[in-house]
Symmetry: C2
Subunit: 418 residues, 2 copies
Amino acid sequence: MMIKKAEILCVGTEILIGDIVNTNAAWLSKELSALGISQYHQAVIGDNSERLAQTVKDTLNNCDLLVMTGGLGPTYDDITKETVASVLGKELVFDREIFDGIKAYFDKRDRTMTENNRKQAYVIEGSKVLKNDMGTAPGILCNTGEKIIILLPGPPSELMPMWKNYARPEIEKYCDKVFVSKNVNIVGMGEAAVASELDEMMKNSVNPTIAPYCKTGETRLRITASAKTKEEAQKMCDDVIEKIKNTKINNYIYGIDTDIAEAVVKELTKRGLKIATAESCTGGLIAKMITDVPGASAVLEGGMISYSNSVKYKALGVSSSLLDRHGPYDHRVAIQMAEGVRRLMDSDVGIGVTGLAGPGGGTAKKPVGLVYIAVCYNKKTEVMKYKFGENQSRDRIRELTAVNAFINTLNILKKGQK
Amino acid sequence: MMIKKAEILCVGTEILIGDIVNTNAAWLSKELSALGISQYHQAVIGDNSERLAQTVKDTLNNCDLLVMTGGLGPTYDDITKETVASVLGKELVFDREIFDGIKAYFDKRDRTMTENNRKQAYVIEGSKVLKNDMGTAPGILCNTGEKIIILLPGPPSELMPMWKNYARPEIEKYCDKVFVSKNVNIVGMGEAAVASELDEMMKNSVNPTIAPYCKTGETRLRITASAKTKEEAQKMCDDVIEKIKNTKINNYIYGIDTDIAEAVVKELTKRGLKIATAESCTGGLIAKMITDVPGASAVLEGGMISYSNSVKYKALGVSSSLLDRHGPYDHRVAIQMAEGVRRLMDSDVGIGVTGLAGPGGGTAKKPVGLVYIAVCYNKKTEVMKYKFGENQSRDRIRELTAVNAFINTLNILKKGQK
């Protein structure tokens, strides 16, 4: 048996009514793509056993591998295991080892196991149990000899390690090709310009494929190769990346398989520099994104969220008369924030950000979306003004601000090279 | 014709391979739920016209309203309009008004309209055009007399206003019921315990329905009622919530239709208090979550990300001998951080957080996942120790830390009541 085609079926009324965004489907899709398994269709279905049974039957006709998520919890509306068992004509059997594991999970947390947690200790007869290191619901893998069905728990923190550690290794046995993708990270050159530069190369690209796409504030090129081995596929990607580096795009590439915050952390690490941030409208997002990168402690001295004017003035030393006369949304305030936090925290680089993320507070002169970003390094401070647009959401304005703060930091670091 | 059942069908290979998380489906689901339109099934399909045509045919058999997203762009792989036209046996016709609108869109931006943008000016004969105020691809509404099919563009910034302003008003004409959902937010009582407390009530719940589910660090109960009017449905939900409040769950309810950061902002606003945060391992996440709540500026004085020991010592006044002797992962450090940032920023409440988010840096005595959270208010400082587990991811440990910081803040505020 080879696995070529998969379907993902996510179970849960909370997805259907929009309470939960289906991030599991996107995450699993990437994992399946990396194994060279195609998907033509994906579905979400509510907690209703008849409809679920019918959908499972129909879906099994169209794929070699069915990956299901959700509905493995302890309550009566968790029906995935029961429904799949009945479709396969199998019984549910009590598993003492799982039961003991669940009991230990509760004991460790000084909580009492309730009667309905016992339900989670039942598995489909003849199936393989997938261990849940992060919660109480075990996963299940059924191999009918013709098809494989995998049941995973809904919470991403349980699903992801279970897939990686226990499900994927089983699936890899049935795959004959390996897909490897690499992303080329580009800043300062738009998707259309990148595509037109690589027009000839992209038209003729079958394996590896080359696909440009947009991310907040940047352009990415995804190179995907398939081969018998991972090493071979990797080499094929690297050869294409070399060719891309021989075009004028090379001037705009800031990294491979990275993101802008990670690129800043790497650049600072390489140069042995420390950074400090002073944030107003982003409210901690910039520091949070830096600390998302493991190892950030080597480069981040610290940060200040100077939300109120009094903190800008008292803790960062922003001129109070400047704040009184011009308010906080001003390029000079951004400059004084960047320099102030660098002084306060004794770092090499300082970022200062002030602006209006909305939704309220905008005026004709200073509309929502107006943001100033200052970066200081090596006795120089640069400040940039942005108008991200009044129609943009609060989240989007904050995200664009953070990404641009990183882009400017990377630029000033490269310019400041001695 | 009444619309009772809908399906959402999202078109796009980029969703199937996991490049894009399907936020449109979640957003539209909420909109449909609010109109009392049920959904039993949702699907995603790639840019392949045969499979798309078959799926459209099959789906139309199971619903009164089919909402499709994506595939309305200018390139050759945008096939939604063409495919739906052929399934319905209709022609595509050129629409001069749309063409002029697209041309104006490009003129306004000093960009040249390309030949393939002309494709977007074709509509399905006999359909109603839905205006796109944010981009070039118009939406389409086809009413066959028995079914309604709506085609919306993929980008959320175009889809959302088009739905609200042009599609939903058309759909409302065909709805006779309204659904209202309310969420009861619970902390300190697990999903299974909540479910077992409400066992009888949940078993007999048809309208409103009662469903428990997990969120990071908390449990939620979703109450959903349908009725002729919004007011009636709301009253039905409120009656159920009253009943729930008469059980022992009441001691664990922290809000209705809120989240933990929002609940903290509300509680602070109600009491006229200001908060300041000092974060180490969370690196700005706590402040970021506070500033995610619009109106946070009324309660957040500011925050400090004291990643390095020197910032903890110099800016927050944490004892340097304490840091030297015991390192940063210590309950006394958390206390001094909370008290230090409150003093520095002159706020009423201070939060101090220190711990190991991993992946590296753990020892047998101080493992990854060890976190101390201190909150000071009203001359009292409380500190709690957490072991979130060495197997948890960095993101998860940071998220759990932030949520627990908010839970503790809420508790101390309520206890500090005079």
